[in-house]
Symmetry: C2
């Protein structure tokens, strides 16, 4: 089972390529462990309020070890944010695909209202569901990363939001959404993202309840 014997030359040569920078490396699952620990602590205490020693300890490492995986503290924050956005985008795409498939099976088409419901519900999932520290950190700590890193995160964010634009425009066209759709989008995201501040999963409201309430609030009655 020795790879060094059975690998073809092309792959063998790739072992000699320049080493990845510290924040791209992935030795086992230690990097993921650090990311999860950082996400949780950054969410609880904020970026400036969390020391790299806190993060190391939460990941079961020694104080200097995070810097083996990440160039500096800021790169760790940026990695939490990009990881969060990538998860959110994948989750959203999967949810839309699943809804479209289910509609097809049932011989229906997916209306704009259905699309918005799927988008809102999927958004609540990544915002308030299990493993949901990454997106809140991105939402509330973006001022702590440098401009170039912020731009990279913003590109991911634009991709995520792009799925909403045609849905809101369609709803506007059919009279279910009043006013400029792009102002409406900003306010809708605000209403949803704010739930991070008050939602208590131990209370009676479920994510489906929140989704229903949001659609009731934003959309006009069908004509």
């Amino acid at each position: 089972m020795s790879a060094s014997v059975s690998l073809p030359p092309a792959q063998r040569r790739s072992r000699g390529r320049p080493r990845k920078t510290a924040d791209e490396r992935d030795d086992g699952n230690r990097r993921q462990l650090l990311l999860r620990a950082a996400a949780g602590l950054f969410r609880q205490q904020g970026f400036a309020g969390t020391s790299t020693r806190d993060i190391a300890a939460a990941a079961g490492m020694q104080p200097g070890s995070p810097f083996y995986h990440f160039e500096n503290k800021e790169a760790l924050l940026a990695a939490v944010m990009t990881e969060g956005m990538e998860r959110a985008t994948r989750h959203q795409a999967a949810a839309m695909q699943a809804a479209a498939d289910a509609a097809l099976q049932a011989g229906r088409v997916l209306g704009a209202r259905d699309c918005l419901q799927v988008l809102v519900r999927s958004h609540f999932d990544v915002l308030l569901g299990p493993e949901s520290d990454f997106i809140p950190v991105m939402l509330y700590e973006w001022r702590s990363i440098s401009a170039p890193q912020r731009e990279a995160v913003n590109r991911l964010r634009s991709g995520y939001e792009a799925a909403w634009v045609p849905v809101l425009q369609a709803l506007h066209a059919q009279g279910a959404l009043q006013g400029d759709p792009s102002l409406a989008r900003l306010m809708i995201f605000g209403a949803l993202n704010w739930a991070v501040q008050w939602y208590d999963p131990t209370r009676r409201a479920t994510l489906d309840d929140l989704t229903h309430a949001a659609l009731q609030l934003f959309l006009k009655e069908p004509a």
Copy 2:
């Protein structure tokens, strides 16, 4: 003009009462200067990301001087928050009073829609207008104060939000607002508060534009 000669005994005796604690004192306007400087820096850089030296420098003082006015850094943050909430509550009450007076002058009554418009516009004022650092700091740094201080701020916040409750209930009763009014209130505050993250006063949208867009988004057509 010597007060020590003309003051009656009762007031003279009051000079001997226990000294106010440091964070209640008000020597000239230095305390206000510190509060403003702290609000601006806390908003820009966050609580943990701002040093008391930064604040002192912004107020034109030496590094140790803030501690003459405030017991510690946390008390300074709490003072920014309570100051912000008191201003916001006063501003809101004045706006409602002015609208009611104007309606009376014109021989009309103030409907629930009018009330909501006044509340939303007043909220945008304290959130996005001039001197608007205090409320964003309260919204986004509340996790940085201790539980007892947080409770004091929350009492002020409840008072502020209390004005919204009957208005939203009335709108719900007349069919202009769908769904549970208290969930709607949380989402509406989210939509408005989120504007802190994206509103650019140099762009074309005015606070009146935002107010109009918000009412369009939340309210159903009049029956």
